[in-house]
Amino acid sequence: MTDIILSAQGLVRRFTARKPLFGTPSVVQAVSDVTLDVRRGETLAIVGESGCGKSTLARLLTRLLAPSEGAVVYDGRDIASLSDTEMRTLRRDMQFIFQDPFSSLNPRMTVGALIEEPLRIHRMGSAPERRAKVADLLRKVGLRPEHADRFPHEFSGGQRQRIGIARALATGPRIVVGDEPVSALDVSIQAQVVNILEDLKEELGLTLVIIAHDLAVIRHISDRVAVMYLGEIVELGDAAALFEKPAHPYTETLLSAIPIPATGARKARSLVDGDPPNPISPPPGCRFHTRCPYAQARCRSERPGLRTLAPDRQVACHFAEDLSLAGVDATMAARPAAAERRFAVYSNARANMTGAETNKTKLPTEE
């Protein structure tokens, strides 16, 4: 469990936002000084609001972007130091799933060619073997081998995302980084994809790094959670513990803002006012202090580093020990017993349906 598969060390990534004719260009530090270990076999979620740098971090971890500073160590090697060829070879082990199922598949390639491509690039297997593997992958993600000669536009969003997953898994990677893999999907489709991801992870012994902003999804699939704010990790810890008892005020803010789909649940409220500050000129001291309800003088001047609060819990707040922050109350979402029974009926029926599915052809869609 403490086996580290991938490790980020002091990662910094800067972007030039605007380059005037004279003078210094303004720079956005999208990721600033992130240090993070990914453990073999776990699902690590990185969560935060838009613009917090989580997608940049995901790309840094897989060297789709080169870091401005810091290192990403995979299997003891800094991947930034690898040559292009070595890096390409490494991509067999390290794969990426994209957010938008509509734009992340080359519209001019058939589904079969798309899924086969990683195998072909890495010269894995003969052509017939690869075709068999494609068929197998398609079945694994709930599609049919006959789908291989179709083009992506013939599929729905959820199906496309499954194609993206099949493609990412083709080379048998050890670690998969997903950038918002389910956020573009409707709830019912999202659930299907989440299940596939979890099943495949288990079956193939994958390590998953999932970027997301939907806290419920994160709670559901992740073992550990890293919370990001303005390019920094502000809290990192075991998912259940972190949701139950956040240690950083920003985590609390996030959790409190989620509307709960149940009657009588607490009204969603935002503990903070206004928008996050401009990342070009982040505030001094603690970056959250401008919006933090608990901010004190020290927060405005002194920047809190990420420190270990408890085993498996790191936090970047001066007052983490002093604050008693509210987490998610599990009872809030409780349903009446009658409703629970009905859900159980649905669940059962659904399970039966699946069991019968292999023999059952499509139901009333004759036309």
């Binding site: 605007r18 005037p20 004719l21 004279f22």
Partner: protein, 314 residues
């Protein structure tokens, strides 16, 4: 904005340099010897030698280029081989002519193209749209030199309504000047009108699809306000860019138009200069049009920024 202009101008410098090298090289690669033509029918060897000396034709081409470029930087573009007039003077003389033609053509194009484009977009899929499109495509498809000679044949020769050719400075007799220029301007303007109409139409179509148009309608605004204040205003941003960029097309079109209507402008000057191998004139003109083209490009970008509040404070 200043920084933006500064950067654009800095970037333009190598382009201008490239243009001048390009033109110079091309000129000197052209077959045919202007000196032979200039020497007259007798082609006296002594005269030929003297002319070569005078126009520095015996120097290596790079030396000629440096000499030319050095003078050009000081505002001296040399003299015409054919008439010995200073090139700069020639250009100054021809420029107002072509500008008048261009402005009139552009005016015609704008007056036809933009309303037609708006109407066609608004009535998308109806016969109005269809008709406007067919007319616009016809405008694009008719070779303007052919249109020119057909118009001369019809309007000037058969009907005698308008002069077939010539030029009258607008300062001398404005009415006659416009009378003379209206037919060439129309010929030149048709293709531009078509281009403008198509751009306006597609800009309007994409603007009309945008969310803020729906917002405007949701506010209960009257349709003409939605169309003009909300849609056209935004659609004009790319259209204005297109207008400035049409400048190049305008110049190219002026070449043939001026040829047909014998208008003593830029285009005619350059064609005659190419045929006569009047190096200095060709160089001077292409350099000037090149610079003007780049200036128009910069202007287009600037206009885009001015018209588009999103860009203006960047």
């Amino acid at each position: 904005m200043l920084a933006f202009l500064g950067r654009r101008i800095l970037i333009a410098i190598p382009t201008v340099f490239l243009i001048s090298v390009f033109v110079f090289a091309l000129q000197h690669l052209l077959p045919g010897d202007p000196i032979l033509v200039m020497a007259g029918e007798e082609r006296d060897p002594e005269v030929i030698a003297a002319l070569r000396e005078k126009y520095r034709m015996n120097d290596p081409v790079p030396v000629q280029y440096l000499a030319w470029a050095g003078n050009a930087l000081q505002g001296d573009l040399g003299i015409s081989l054919r008439t010995q007039q200073p090139v700069l003077e020639l250009i100054a003389e021809k420029l107002p002519v072509t500008i008048q033609l261009a402005v009139m053509a552009l005016t015609i194009a704008i007056l036809i193209g933009i309303p037609a484009g708006v109407l066609s977009a608004y009535k998308k899929g109806t016969w109005v749209d269809w008709l406007a499109n067919i007319v616009a495509l016809s405008g694009l498809s008719v070779p303007n030199f052919w249109l020119g000679i057909m118009l001369i044949l019809l309007v000037s020769v058969k009907l005698g309504w308008l002069p077939a050719s010539g030029y009258m400075p607008i300062s001398e007799d404005p009415l006659q000047s416009i009378r003379i220029m209206i037919m060439p301007a129309f010929v030149l303007g048709t293709a531009l009108a078509a281009t403008l109409m198509r751009h306006t139409r597609s800009a309007m179509l994409s603007v009309l699809k945008s969310d803020y148009i729906r917002t405007a309608r949701a506010k209960g605004l009257r349709e003409h306000i939605v169309l003009v204040k909300h849609a056209l205003r935004n659609a004009l941003v790319p259209v204005v860019t297109v207008i400035t960029l049409l400048f190049g097309e305008l110049l190219a079109g002026a070449v043939l138009t001026e040829q047909i209507f014998t208008i003593p402008g830029f285009g005619k000057l350059v064609v005659d200069a190419v045929f006569n191998r009047d190096y200095a004139v060709v160089q001077g003109i292409v350099l000037c049009t090149g610079v003007a083209f780049i200036a128009m490009n910069i202007l287009a970008d600037a206009a885009y920024r001015v018209l588009n509040p999103r860009m203006s404070d960047q």
